[in-house]
Symmetry: C2
Subunit: 225 residues, 2 copies
């Protein structure tokens, strides 16, 4: 069987997706791929590694410092403050690294071609936000088309969670037995890796657990401490 590559950020969505693809194809046919692009929430990466160890899946972490060099943003610059509140707020636009998704998808596709994989999965979902133009359906379709054309051995880009939101993904993950203590969501963790519970990302995560009548296994620090 040709390999399946899963882009794994260490967040809830891509972690759930990895469990899903492993359940479908078997751990020996799945390779995870993570990127270190200098994000403040680098705790994601150690969580990604821990999930792969738990599932027995090969993980690859690639250094993408160049993305910060090209286009710094509040997510990667230590001297920029991460805005609080919902994504929809105007100030959350500071968290945009221009074209980040295309860069990550391009490199992941390059890796998928190098290992002769036939499918490349990523965790885009219905809750991705209009402030990120490169989360739009038209953009994903355009990338799917470009990736298919980029190599004689065609790689298919798939975003199976496109039509479900974060609560729907969590519902699915609970059935799959995902260990959500090995995920990270917060944009502004403390040095221990604990979450703030207040940024747009945490707010969404906590809402998803609430909707599923479930309890988030993560630790949250008290803001101000």
């Amino acid at each position: 069987m040709q390999k399946k590559v899963v882009i794994l950020s260490g967040g809830m969505d891509s972690t759930t997706l990895l469990y899903d693809i492993v359940a479908e194809f078997g751990k020996q046919n799945v390779i995870a791929l993570s990127f270190d692009y200098g994000q403040k929430h680098v705790h994601e990466l150690s969580k990604a590694d821990a999930t792969c160890s738990k599932l027995g899946v090969e993980n690859n972490i690639f250094d993408l410092a160049v993305l910060n060099q090209i286009a710094p943003s509040a997510l990667t610059r230590k001297d920029w403050k991460v805005p609080e509140g919902h994504y929809a707020d105007e100030n959350m636009k500071q968290t945009v690294v221009p074209n980040r998704n295309m860069v990550l998808l391009s490199l992941a596709a390059s890796f998928a071609m190098a290992v002769k994989a036939d499918k490349l999965y990523y965790g885009a979902h219905a809750g991705d936000h209009d402030i990120y133009p490169d989360c739009r359906k038209e953009f994903v379709d355009a990338m799917k088309h470009a990736i298919k054309l980029a190599d004689w051995n065609e790689v298919e880009l798939l975003a199976p969670y496109w039509d479900i939101d974060k609560s729907g993904i969590l519902k699915r993950g609970i059935k799959l037995g995902v260990d959500y203590s090995l995920t990270h969501t917060c944009y502004d963790p403390n040095p221990k890796g604990e979450s703030c519970g207040r940024c747009g990302s945490c707010t969404e995560r906590l809402e998803a657990f609430f909707v599923n009548s479930s309890t988030d296994p993560l630790s949250y620090y008290e803001v101000g401490n």
Copy 2:
């Protein structure tokens, strides 16, 4: 005027293109962008810098070592021998870094968005070869479409030389007064940066000068010495 970004490899095509865009928009409106992805023909990069100094254009060189980490090829691995002969030969496929063009275009688009440019130029041309799937017209069109969708401030990807071959580009460059001593083409230069005159890339270059009844200002080393 919004900035124009030109992807500059330091080869003949992109160097000619830079002269062309500077002639059209003025040097103060043009920014060049080069990538160091561990290519053996790193001499390209010093030539790219020399051309930018000569034209008074800002140049940016970004480190893309990750591309070699993800997908090594004969162009980047010191222990793989570069094949000789024409591109059309089967063994030239070893020079393919899978999906390299998409990665470079994605990062360049990210940079263009970060500097609020409206146009991104690159030197793809009619002589680019069928063994590189990501040099096909359909692929370039797909990328053009994806890049346009990737940011609210639309960036237009342009390949003005798409319909002309290397000889046509050289003809144009001779009129523009391009200093071709500040370009590099060879895939297998010696440590002084002199060209082999035998690899597929050199063969094409020399043919273009021949067709234009012109003399290549570069030094060629004798193979075997």
